[in-house]
Symmetry: C2
Subunit: 190 residues, 2 copies
Amino acid sequence: MMQELKDRILKDGKVIGEDILKVDSFLNHQIDTDLVYKIARYLGSNFSGVNKVLTIEASGIAYALAVANYFNNAPMVFAKKSKSKTVDMNTVYKTTIKSFTRGTESVVTVAKDYLTKDDKVLIIDDFLAEGNAALGLIDLCKQAGSTVVGVGIVIEKGFQGGRERLEKMGIKVESAAIITKFENGKPILK
Amino acid sequence: MMQELKDRILKDGKVIGEDILKVDSFLNHQIDTDLVYKIARYLGSNFSGVNKVLTIEASGIAYALAVANYFNNAPMVFAKKSKSKTVDMNTVYKTTIKSFTRGTESVVTVAKDYLTKDDKVLIIDDFLAEGNAALGLIDLCKQAGSTVVGVGIVIEKGFQGGRERLEKMGIKVESAAIITKFENGKPILK
């Protein structure tokens, strides 16, 4: 756990409805750049042997870049959510990810060239809830024969089962902050 | 112009169809992290007085973060393309951007709290073609009363008029690489 991030969530996080934490002011719309690099050092220091960082567009990208910077500027790959003219579906790994926040399912792809058997991958994302995004990214790594070193998360919702699902697969999970529950419209942090 | 980026485009860029440059192997799918920070230093060194960096999700985010890091970890904001449950449309600035690559139009928003009259904004994006994304981001800054210090671009397609449209508005544009044309399926760089 990272005290500075915990303090910031308590100060600036807003709870919307029953279980959505809005941290747009510093984490995933406006970005506190200094905090990003501190989070990256915290997450990076908990893993070793990483030679590639994988995330999913869009809000994981800033954290993944900073973590890749921590690992001696290892390459970073972001899985893509939509098809553009420049994606050839014969050359990509694909998986389906359910978004908790948006209530949607999306097909997510990584070009086969950018995940290989030689990659020791640290998966980075801004949130962990039920773990669907992480499981999707792990699935892409498995298709590629890449090694998953672990999953690094900025904010984990510790009550939605994501960590348990990942740890059951033998995946190491490290989060910079863990919310254990929401109470009276406030996050309670571990 | 940045020689290392020019060399890399010539080595690893692929031209698809008549005018789409695919640089997925190092620039906007798999990211060469070391190159990102070099590009950020190049772009950053061409502007001064910046206290906020603005981009648009998703592929601009990595470059915007690295440029924000260059400017003493200034805050970075990325405009969002889609509505999620956590966006209240009464509290955002919005504009419409046509995507050259995808052939689509999208509504793009920034929460009003994160662009203000005090912001001296450097707009960063991975590509400049007709300039539609940059014009949309400038429009958001104007709505907010923010000062636009300039536009920093990783790869400019110099034959699609984007720079001219921006410079006519008095906006300074700096690009790390400029493609003057495509010839026999190869990019010709300035």
